[in-house]
Subunit: 164 residues, 4 copies
Amino acid sequence: MTRVEPRDPEFETRVRESFARQALMRTIGAELARVEPGRVEIALPYRPDLTQQHGYLHAGITSAIADSAGGYAGYSLFPAESSVLTVEFKINLLAPAAGERFVALGEVVKPGRTLTICRLEVSAIKGERRTLIALGQQTLICLEGQPDRPGAVLKRATQHRRSP
Amino acid sequence: MTRVEPRDPEFETRVRESFARQALMRTIGAELARVEPGRVEIALPYRPDLTQQHGYLHAGITSAIADSAGGYAGYSLFPAESSVLTVEFKINLLAPAAGERFVALGEVVKPGRTLTICRLEVSAIKGERRTLIALGQQTLICLEGQPDRPGAVLKRATQHRRSP
Amino acid sequence: MTRVEPRDPEFETRVRESFARQALMRTIGAELARVEPGRVEIALPYRPDLTQQHGYLHAGITSAIADSAGGYAGYSLFPAESSVLTVEFKINLLAPAAGERFVALGEVVKPGRTLTICRLEVSAIKGERRTLIALGQQTLICLEGQPDRPGAVLKRATQHRRSP
Amino acid sequence: MTRVEPRDPEFETRVRESFARQALMRTIGAELARVEPGRVEIALPYRPDLTQQHGYLHAGITSAIADSAGGYAGYSLFPAESSVLTVEFKINLLAPAAGERFVALGEVVKPGRTLTICRLEVSAIKGERRTLIALGQQTLICLEGQPDRPGAVLKRATQHRRSP
């Protein structure tokens, strides 16, 4: 994607503070490696307690870092007072998730006032070798005027999607 | 789906042993709640260390239990000496994942010798109330003759998908 | 899904008139077989000029009737003055699309003010036999206050998704 | 993707002959614009009889050219005696499909002996302006030893996915 101007000059602080509130990222040991407008990278060292039955990283964890990377790539372009929720994503697991560490990249392909579409990539790194292990596509929704804090969004986000 | 006859009469033991080898499921506190031919349920109590920035269950964890439920629903119909890998899945997050506990259901829609397609559902339970929070669709591949053990699949699974 | 009350009592007329404006449906010979609140069926007789290289119905045509069935299932629950656009869909092609005719079913799983999620199914019918050939999942967006007419939506729909 | 060596030196002829057997492509006026190893482009002029209710190209036709472009991108890397079937695809419709003509690009991201994963893109062209209108991801299956002819695949393809 061509470089996009963020609407909020404080986007990086906003993204880093929100990421710090994602308890799961701390639990699994993931870190925000890179924050640019419309492009975010998350790094995760391999840990045996995050694996599936063959000892590879579980697809749910591959998805977790991919989803957060895409979500924050979108959120970096959102206005200051807003929240991001994932509407849906699709992910192809291209190869067994074997490596010493993993890097998830989220990149905005199509920003929008309401919906934002991202491309997701996860690579496994072992020594000098980097292998693409997952490729995804994600749809995000921007909830304007809804602060990004625990509990704050529950009511309106539910309302947003309630039955007619 | 209409009830399917499993090829391996020991399917439940095989599924339970493989699930027990998924370190991630232990790490997050997930349990195998139900194992039937072509239909598996996984239960997960809410834990604040598995959340995203608003305090809801992280979409990656919702995906992890959905992916494992679908994977084992497929695996229950596979032959005795085989492994299962997820090719891809797509998931819609229908409502914020707020609840006391979560139940993921994986159900085989189309079994096949090589590929098996599953429907995925995740519900949040709060008191008497059960809310559908995620809906997905998953493609699995059966690796025949490949034991379901740590390390065992790496070589052949990679080979399976290598470049021409 | 449990039966939903449509907001617009004239939903069926509105759906049928919009379907009649979909020139593609006429071109391929598709018909609106059933219109209920949140549930629409489209029927398509087999035609050799709609096939892929093996003589089966092309996946794009399977997708076209599935997408329209889901779109109108959602649209049946939308308010009177509105338009529907597909945000995205995912479809698994479960079996070769061989049959005398095909029926696509779209069903709303989660209605919402802005976004609506549908389940898609396509079956092939040959004599007495009905085979499920495709299964999908779709996200729709409701454009309120935008009339469902040729040309009318272009400006605002584009604006809706413009860059920040 | 880095350039891939095709296994079959006659890949272009094989792709062009198979495309010529896709009756739907002829019906809608689509043409094979470019065939490279692992990369195929299909061009389609706008036609009012292929539209949805607002006069844009119907998402099913956008999907049809995207699916064929990806399918032939994969098929270009398959061995000489083989067939290609689409397992599944997911597509995001990024903007209304308004233009004088459309170009679908299919590109192999991960080739494999059994499964091949492609990236799909569709652009609308109006005068000098080119707009990305759809982005997708596709899983293909290679049926080795199965000739790419009408009727030929039916039996084995069905068998491939039959119940256990």
